[in-house]
């Protein structure tokens, strides 16, 4: 599969690089930009970014494997991240996570990210999302939701077209 970066994305990337006196600093921002466009970071993307920044591919690949937000495989169109950490757990995040899994036909006991067969939803537990006073909290792609009851969860899912 060929990897082509469209001109507008490349222009955005070139602009990002100007923010730093040392090009390598732009690595995370470039990975974000590429992942937002392609949905995940492929081997070709790693090589492309490395070339762009004058680095070895390993310098970029080691970031993809270190930072939890970067993906090496495609994920669902809607990525549901439920907070797992203490305050949200006290506020019912386990029930919320199970609810999403059951509703979307996923295994609530399986560890790690799961994607529905149609590729529409991914569900995973993530660590503290900094919304502890409004527990349980979650994200659906870029949107952040507070005090998510199972009824609210159903509503969020129904809004994903």
């Amino acid at each position: 599969m060929s990897f082509t970066v469209p001109p507008n994305l490349e222009a955005e990337i070139d602009e990002l690089i100007t923010h730093y006196p040392v090009k390598r600093s732009a690595s995370l921002m470039l990975l974000h930009a590429v992942q937002e466009h392609f949905g995940y970071i492929s081997q070709e993307a790693v090589e492309w970014i490395a070339k762009k920044l004058g680095l070895q591919p390993i310098n970029v690949y080691e970031l993809v494997t270190f930072y939890p937000m970067f993906r090496q495989q495609p994920v669902g169109k809607y990525q549901i991240k439920v907070c797992r950490t203490l305050s949200c757990a006290l506020g019912g995040s386990h029930e919320l996570y199970k609810h999403f899994c059951t509703k979307l036909g996923l295994d609530p006991h399986q560890h790690g990210l799961q994607t529905t067969k149609d590729g529409k939803f991914s569900v995973e537990f993530v660590e503290c999302l900094a919304g502890c006073g409004m527990a349980p909290v979650m994200m659906c792609n870029e949107d952040f939701y507070e005090n998510v009851s199972t009824a609210k969860a159903d509503e969020i899912v129904s809004q994903c077209k």
Binding site: S87, G91, C128, L129, G131, C132
Partner: protein, 473 residues
Amino acid sequence: MPQEFKLILKHADEPGYTPDIECYLRHGGYEALKKALAMKPIELPDGKTKSPQEQIRDDVKLSGLRGRGGAGFSAGLKWSFVDRKSGKPIYLICNADESEPGTFKDRQIIHKDPHQLIEGMIISCFANDVHLAYIYIRGEMPKGAKLLNQALAEARAKGFLGKNILGTGYDLEIYVHRGAGAYICGEETGLIESLEGKRAYPRIKPPYFPAVLGLYMCPTIVNNVETLCHVKHIVTMGGAEYAKLGTPNNTGTRIVSLSGHVKRPGYYEIEVGKVTLGELINHPNFGGGLRDGRKLKAIIPGGSSSKVLKAGEKFKLKRKVDGKDVEVETDVLDLPYDFDSLMQAGTMSGSSAIIVMDDSVDIVEALANLSEFYAHESCGQCTPCREGSLWMSKALHRLTHGRGRKNDADYLEKIANNIPGGRTICAFGEACSWPVQSFVAKFRDEFIAKGAADEERNKQAAPAKEKNLAAVH
């Protein structure tokens, strides 16, 4: 009556208050910056002059401002360590990687009043001769990053940022840099590595003190979001006036994140030390008490890394009575919520995040939850932390899944005691051990009872299987 004191969040939650620059300007925004930039050098009695930059830095020192990120270190002192003679550029980084479990205060500032942070940053940069600064925001706040970028563009358009700010000849550029989900980036040297485009492996100190060898091996200041906002108010009020807020050595206000089993969880800004832990939990102006019919069991007072406090615990607090130092026995709920009192109680106010747990909580489950967090977030650089945090999490997983042992409390304690204390590069070693040490020490009976019950049951059910489980250790 204990009540909120809103300095940072004065406008954020007012109806109709929006995060754009016009709204900020209508509320007196960027006046502190104008004041700072218009300051004149002062002639000192010895014939020397004191530059406006030095005046601001001295004012921050005078204000007694302590870092709001977690360590509570004097902000003025931190700035005074900056190597200004190296000839290298000085950088400033705003640590907006808010990820200490329990903490959600910076989120409020970033999303509701981004210009306040930017104004505080510009003043701090001016005071420290910084011309390039970054806001390192956690990856899970994409909207916050967008809002900040928009706010920065607005500030640039109004001449508060960029070349020749307000015609003074001072140049500054600020960029937003996004993290990607790693808790360790909140540690300042890890953050710097991450900003350099590397894995966020914290650097060893000495020699890599950011004030001397920080970003690109140049002098660097790393301050928390809330800390930088306070700088704006220190310039507005004057350091001496600011220092009247709060209590001695614990000056100013703080935004407390309150979560867990209270009726009114949320964020509350208080004068430091003027409100007690008990008032924060029980007073109708704050947490409003526990859920009906429930009793208090435990409090995590300063983010998940701080040592847990048990309901009913008593501490000897040093107090000044008639000019004399005396020790006063203080109940956990009567601890003034400040840096020093909590330190005297053997814990810390950390990132000022309180997690309240009532008697419905299985304390072993709660610790297992936190330990899983630390095992996931250890960067993996130092063996005691990488392995130790995972061992503790595995043992607690066993203990919460019916495969515990009577001696698990000792086992957990042994690991937790062998991670911190200079065996690791950064304080994550402490952060992952403190919860385990304190939970096990204070709720030992529950750990032993759970382990013993499992052991007994498993011995009767399948003695052979129990032997195999030894391999888990």
